[in-house]
């Protein structure tokens, strides 16, 4: 039989544990009428992220893959409302599509292309631009190879009688 003081201690511990379970989540664990009375904890300010291809890849998977396809080749999983496909992003020539122009189209949109600048941060747009550039292997100069034209050949057929 546990002594009286041990029972009291156990009760206090149980009460404390119950209270502490409410403390972790400021708004979720409380019943509705009290929820708005709790001042939410301020969200810690995050350090400004450096634009990266990794962030761009994650954003691409969430926002671009549906129309432009996982490889950026225009083979998306979602058909545009007009029944057409989104353009390829893996054959952008450097001279026609400098990074600034890619970033501008992502931010401002074009036709059915969303204006992501209205919801994404400039850093996120830069990350996406880096990722789209990486789909094109721009640093490696691609040698131009001309396919040799086939000359028409004269075929002699020997006619035998």
């Amino acid at each position: 039989m546990a002594p009286y003081w041990a029972k009291v201690c156990l009760l206090i511990m149980c009460f404390g544990l119950t209270l502490s379970s409410y403390a972790g989540v400021a708004n979720a664990a409380l019943p509705p009428p009290f929820r708005h009375r709790i001042v939410p904890k301020p969200i810690p300010r995050q350090k400004p992220s450096v634009p990266s291809i990794a962030e761009g890849a994650a954003l691409f998977a969430e926002s671009c893959l549906s129309c432009h396809g996982p490889r950026g080749n225009g083979e998306g999983f979602w058909i545009l409302p007009t029944g057409t496909s989104a353009p390829r992003l893996d054959n952008l020539a450097t001279e026609d599509w400098p990074a600034q122009k890619i970033a501008q189209v992502i931010a401002k949109g074009d036709g059915m292309m969303p204006a992501w600048g209205e919801t994404m941060t400039p850093g996120q747009i830069q990350s996406l631009t880096l990722y789209v550039e990486s789909l094109n292997q721009r640093t490696v100069p691609v040698p131009k190879t001309e396919t040799p034209k086939l000359k028409p050949q004269t075929v002699l057929v020997r006619m035998s009688h």
Partner: protein, 315 residues
């Protein structure tokens, strides 16, 4: 999809015949008469007045103007739904049309013609209506023609003590955008958190499946803004099937389309409808009846079009 665990909302899947057999009255509402709720509603009286019980209907993804095998008569299924809605007792106070009113087209002329036709059809039903755009209505021109024909892309109204906010998460891409979020914040700041809040939009406000654009990029920001509200219900379309989910204090409900059904994510790689069947032409098509009680509880009833009288000839 997980089922909302709320004790205050009851959903049932009834056939139309079964629904009418119940006399069309709101069926046994789940009791929520706790002291907490009573206190909460005493507060709500201060802001938007007491809630008078009412009924509304959610109609979604009608795709007027579509020509193809997925639905060989979209006008037929719309008018069939409107006909059934008109015969509901008690009569709904209004219709909520959650986007994709028309089938997308690259031609501005044709889009305007389809929107005008849709408006004409709704006007003829003699039931007041509130609409939000779908990407098929608004993505091509960022909602310019939609605004011209149907009105604002986002707006709010109070009906019998319940706050409604219509949102646009499609016209400029699958997001709400900073400007609209600022507007939402201004609206929410003016509202009493104890008053029931109902949001309606086209795309889901949580991530159902991003590869099919079944998400809202900045939906989490909106959910955080509404976190202090006791009871938030979201009605949306876009996914062409019944779906329900719960995030924090929000219950999300996707309505039945009248155009064609879509499968759950995972069954197909590329999202596309299948041809309408000859034996079950109205498979997965329908609408939703929502009854709001005086305490703000919801009775949600999903009705299928397939219970229609088979003698009816459709165009």
């Amino acid at each position: 999809m997980s089922q909302p665990t709320s004790s205050i909302t009851k959903e049932s899947m009834l056939t139309r015949r079964g629904f009418l057999a119940l006399g069309g009255t709101a069926v046994g509402l789940a009791a929520s008469g706790s002291a907490f709720h009573l206190a909460a509603y005493a507060q709500s009286l201060k802001s938007s007045g007491p809630i008078t019980p009412f009924r509304f209907v959610q109609l979604t993804d009608t795709h007027l103007g579509y020509v193809g095998d997925a639905n060989r008569s979209v006008m037929g299924t719309i008018t069939m739904a409107l006909g059934q809605i008109a015969s509901l007792t008690p009569h709904p106070d209004f219709l909520l049309v959650t986007g994709d009113l028309t089938q997308g087209t690259a031609s501005d002329y044709e889009r305007k013609r389809r929107l005008l036709l849709f408006k004409q059809v709704l006007d003829a039903s003699k039931i007041p209506y509130y609409t939000v755009p779908g990407e098929h209505d608004a993505l091509m021109d960022r909602g310019v023609l939609y605004q011209m024909v149907m009105g604002d892309l986002h707006y709010g109204f109070i009906h019998k003590g319940v706050q409604f906010l219509g949102l646009d998460n499609v016209s400029r891409g699958f997001f709400l955008g900073r400007e609209q979020l600022k507007w939402v914040k201004r609206q929410l700041d003016m509202m009493d958190p104890a008053t029931p809040l109902m949001l309606f939009c086209h795309a889901p406000l949580y991530n159902v499946f991003a590869p099919w654009n079944w998400y809202t990029f900045d939906g989490a920001a909106l959910r955080a803004m509404a976190a202090r509200f006791h009871r938030v219900t979201v009605f949306y379309g876009h996914v062409h099937q019944m779906m329900s989910h719960r995030t924090e204090n929000m219950a999300h409900w996707a309505g039945l389309p009248t155009a064609w059904p879509f499968p759950e994510p995972g069954d197909l790689v590329k999202l596309q409808p299948w041809p309408q069947g000859a034996t079950h032409p109205y498979l997965g098509l329908g609408y939703r009846v929502v009854d709001v009680s005086a305490s703000g509880d919801l009775q949600i009833t999903n009705l299928l079009l397939s219970e229609v009288n088979h003698g009816t000839v459709l165009g």
